[in-house]
Symmetry: C2
Subunit: 410 residues, 2 copies
């Protein structure tokens, strides 16, 4: 039973979810029909009238909102994956049912981002925080330098871990203005082992408009945790891309790694097997038991993205979604955006009023009105609206409307 007090709150618009939707998954790949059916169950056995209007606006920076269709599909397969008689959480990672899920997930990821054949698609654990050390542990030798472009706290953490294994060089930084912009130039070192950057900065609301101009022949490595697949990506420009799933890809606990084969091969051999990319590439992410549910969920999200029209269309949707909020902020007399124009993130919109007391009241009133997760990161304060791929445009419009009313009432 729903709390009556909540009924008056702003909710996701009913209309968006009330229409019968086609099932998310369509047969698309080379699997046998019978295995395929486990993953692409066309029939909803549960068909509860879910009160979708009760889902509130979730602006969480991660774990974050997921597509409703994905959640419904997962829900319907929790007690039995398709007609297998075994729930998705309970299938052996070496059984044919899960292997069908895995194969489809990899195939859809490759299709979505047009990933060349000489790149591996890996599902690891430990989040981006583990990649901060795995990258240099595998690819940076003690006497080598790697260039880091520092655009926020996460880049700084990556630099810190690289110091354990070699010589990170900060080739560019926007720390001078509290990371409110993306640097336009960099001072690269001579023959760095790689160049590392963070494509989107959740805390500071900035995002690289395109890849940095790294020196020719030097592998570009990207922490894309908070904006992966928010727009088309030319994987060929990269040596390694990694992303914790919990923003644009799925639940926390699984990390997508896209890595070129030559980097896999040149990785260190004198470190534990679990920390070598080679191990996971050679064993198709099943050297040990992988996070099967996370991979399954990520696969559903990939299919949802394909159904949206792929990454070009997702970029268009993201731009259309963020624009009303930035437009409002640019003309507001109360709120102002914190990131420089030209460096602004499509994923995390950060803003302040300039008055902490008003910020707090705004966050509290917004929360009471059903806008959750708007509080800025504790290191910067203010507000942050995280509007990843799965966040509905109508939620941004509702927020702008709420902000306009709040401003008028001051």
């Amino acid at each position: 039973m729903w709390q009556r007090g909540r009924r008056a709150k702003a909710r996701c618009p009913d209309g968006e979810f009330a229409r019968p939707r086609p099932r998310l998954l369509a047969p698309t790949c080379r699997l046998t029909a019978s295995l395929q059916s486990l993953f692409t169950q066309q029939i909803s056995r549960f068909n509860p009238v879910y009160p979708m209007s009760q889902r509130i606006h979730n602006f969480s920076a991660g774990p974050a909102v997921l597509p409703v269709e994905v959640l419904e599909e997962a829900r319907d397969n929790l007690l039995s994956l398709g007609d297998s008689g075994i729930g998705i959480l309970e299938h052996s990672h070496r059984g044919s049912a899960f292997l069908a899920v895995y194969n489809q997930t990899v195939a859809d990821c490759r299709k979505l981002a047009n990933i060349p054949d000489d790149y591996h698609v890996l599902f690891l654990q430990g989040g981006a925080s583990s990649q901060f050390f795995m990258v240099p542990q595998n690819l940076l030798q003690q006497d080598q330098t790697a260039d880091y472009l520092v655009t926020g706290s996460w880049s700084e953490k990556a630099v810190k871990q690289a110091k354990r294994f070699g010589h990170p060089h900060v080739a560019a930084s926007s720390k001078d203005r509290n990371f409110c912009y993306i640097p336009q130039t960099a001072e690269y070192s001579d023959k760095p082992a790689y160049v590392h950057f963070t494509s989107n900065n959740t805390i500071f609301g900035t995002q690289w408009a395109s890849e940095p101009n790294n020196p020719s022949g030097v592998p570009l490595i990207c922490d894309a945790s908070s904006d992966i697949f928010c727009r088309p990506i030319d994987v060929r420009k990269y040596g390694l891309i990694y992303a914790g799933a919990q923003k644009n890809l799925g639940p926390s606990g699984v990390t997508l790694v896209i890595i070129r084969d030559d980097l896999v091969k040149q990785g260190a051999l004198d470190i534990p097997e679990m920390l070598q990319y080679r191990t996971h590439a050679e064993n198709e992410s099943a050297y040990n038991t992988p996070p099967t549910f996370g991979i399954y969920l990520m696969g559903l999200v990939f299919q949802w993205m394909l159904k949206q029209g792929g990454l070009s269309e997702i970029q268009r949707l993201n731009e259309d979604k963020a624009r009303p909020l930035y437009d409002f902020l640019d003309q507001s007399t109360l709120f102002r955006p914190t990131a420089d124009d030209g460096s602004r993130s499509l994923m995390n919109v950060t803003f302040v009023t300039g008055n902490e007391t008003i910020d707090k009241r705004f966050i509290a009133e917004a929360k009471a009105a059903g806008f959750d997760g708007l509080k800025g990161h504790r290191s910067v304060g203010g507000m942050r609206a995280s509007i990843y791929n799965a966040f509905p445009a109508a939620g941004v419009e509702a927020l702008v409307s709420f902000m306009r009313d709040f401003e008028a009432a001051q």
Copy 2:
């Protein structure tokens, strides 16, 4: 729609699931009522008539069968955790709703296993395979020896990783007879840094009846991945217990670590923060984004265990469950158990006919009859029935009946 061909197959008995069950979770801890309600939602919003009779017998060694009540609870909270309006997968790990889940999960784990206050309960990633190297990386210095009791492939993998950091000494091994027994004696080295053993051996179907007699004052470290909480455990006897969740605790992708505070403190400092137990202990498993859904599921499993009557009662149920299968194997003229009497596992019952052709036919016919996952590990062949805590006794009885018929038909 269910495949008609499956209707004739053996299924979990309807009666076990057809009765209305009380909801799994009862308010038990110090959380506020409103937060508590997020985790212990008493009202099932979905009440589909799930065809439970369609769940087949899942003997998978892991990921493995989970309690139906747990799956139902998770299913009902996938689109909204309680009345929060945000699904369990989508809640920020730093928000009050997930913190309530986390606190309840830790509290229930402590209650279930009577864990003393000077032990930390951690939720890590990377499975037991990551603990194989994290244990020596944190606790074994280059010039030190650690004693390993080797009772199967997993113990051997742990030894291999320890070689990277110090001197593992195999103090006991049952390799001479292909790991079909648990060694009764050990030759401990002088002042080892720790003694490591594997409490249950999934591949070979053996299990320690009780802890080894490690030298006084030497920390005992246990890989309990495949039998944790199958019976009462005296945590005081251990320095560190670790377990991948995907057998007795939940989904793959989360590892439970129970570690005494002095071992946390003495851990290495010159390794990446993510690999230090200290980091996760000091940050209550939230140094980076933890696998929130895995923690939630594990919490539901803990509550299910408490509802069963706790670990003593679970042991009784497990003994009663395994007995009919071992009794049948001991008198069978076709099948024989592979583990020595006295070393047999309550969790994984391994057996052969002695004829590979018959083994294969048995596995195929069993699978066709709805008994899934009975194929033994590829390194030993034969059959393996994994019957973890959540595997229903009726499933074992059905298997024995099927085996009896198969034997009679030879």
